[in-house]
Amino acid sequence: MYRKNTMGMIGLITLILFVAVAVFAPLIAPREGLEATCPCNGTPFSPPSWGFPFGTDNFGRSVFTLTVWGTRISLLVGLLATAISMLIGSVIGIVAGYYGRWPESVLMRLTDWFLVIPFLPLAIVLASVLGRSLTVIIFVIGVTTWPSTARIIRAQVLSVKTRPYVERSRALGSSSWHLTTRHILPNVAPLIFANTILTVAIAILSEATLAFLGLGDPLSISWGTILQFAFGAGAAGAGQWWWLIPPGLAIVMVVLAFTLCGFALDEILNPKLRER
């Protein structure tokens, strides 16, 4: 069914390409090209040419090499942050939805509290207190994105909980564990999956934002940090489009790809959205 969805397939293929680039980065572009002092570097600030398809940065490094290697960090951070977010969000959502009454109230108030924490100020505060690193970024993104997941999952659990086949299982005498694992989880899992896909998109975008603002690890190369350097060196004013467009375009394409996949999954899982 997924195969028939054109948008979904475009998204999926794009993603596979990017993942391949991240995995095979050493084969595509030399690692030494990331060093500012690499003899392979060319003239700084030069536009695209045969040897340097995306031109060079302020150190003469090939922007192509930078972008290729940046794929790794960007995707990694996005995936790890999402894993944390989904784990926390799902567990809280399921527990709140299943048990109801006071556990639900407490957990939902907690969720609301985290929901309103502003993303950027938290990132800035944590970066200054704990120092700038990838771990901090992953933590910040994880902590600020789980609440919306929790709410969606809880709503779905509430809906599944009252379905007659769950009641039948209860009437048969099943334990909470049995109900949760054999009935509720399988029927909530598709929603979790679709939500995960969309959260990764958000996480990658968030990482780029934080890195761009200088809160990321200055020693790692991600698309956000490339943009940060570019802006810092005045690339926009100097018209050095080759330095800005590749990382920016990469971000847009990956986020778009994840979103298309997420929408395709949503259509498949929600029959009402499917066209007749």
Binding site: Y165, E167, L172
Partner: protein, 354 residues
Amino acid sequence: MTETAPGDAPVLEVRGLHVSFEGRVGLGAGMAGKKATRSRAVDGVDLTLLRGEVLALAGESGCGKTTLARTIMGLERPKQGEIRFEGEKLGTSAKILREYRRRVQIVFQDPTAALNPRQTIYESVAEGLRIHGITNQDGLTEEKLVARALARSGLRPPERFFLVYPHELSGGQRQRVVIAGALVLEPEIIVADEPVSSLDASVRGEILKLLLGLRDDFGIAMLVVTHDLGLAWTIADRVAVMYLGRIVEIGPAEDVLTKPLHPYTKALLEVVPEAGGLSRPILSGEAPDPTHIPEGCRFHPRCPEIVSSAAANAGVEARCRGEDLALIELRPGHFAACHLAAARRDDVVPSTST
């Protein structure tokens, strides 16, 4: 399942059952002294189900029949009252509750919703066995037990249905799967909540035949919740009519459905559609909801006997308006909670057992 003849001994007894639902009050309103509305869904019910008997629980929506059935199944908690299964009081030990859950099974109204769409038929039927840790019974393996239950439900050959998913079956077949899921645990009682109302009309008869057959072959007692008095006529031994949380009439099906004593039962029977012209609805308006139960006889605001002054003429109108009453045995085995019907009898024998 035992082989004893129907009517020996009560297999289920309900005494003084009260189940109510609280409405929600917001924090602010609560602090301002506003009380939550209380819906008295089941407001004092005594009921006995005999071994191998089919008892129909009839009434309109809001009368509490579904809540009563769900409470018997343990899906709702009663505020007051007790349930005894084969003489043992429920709620005293977890062991009894677990046994109870095995020997009292439920068949839901909508068979499509009652089956997990992601489980195969085999898994749905075997679930009960797995929950109760039954791997071997009568010398049969789980697979053979599932096959036997499916076959008894009329799905033959049973193996053909093992790996099928619910959406591949028709409504009637799905209901048979649900029934098989109940049968596999060899229950003493099956509680059926509107078992055929969501099925096509031409298919209903077969499912009802199946249920009756289960009683005849295995002595399973049945509590059938329905709004359809025609269904009660077809399969029930006894009929209990409920109104606003109480049983207002109960007795043998032939008596209750052809010689009703309570004005509400009479009104319900009057409007069952049949050939030969439009029946005139005797009652106007709709049943009040369970949050506002009238004083005295709960039916008195709508009672045609008061409107027609029959109650006044018999001198009971004041009692109808002011005095709540329990079921009274007006014929052998036939009870009704009606002052007028009681007054019309020469000798009134209040009874403690229904």
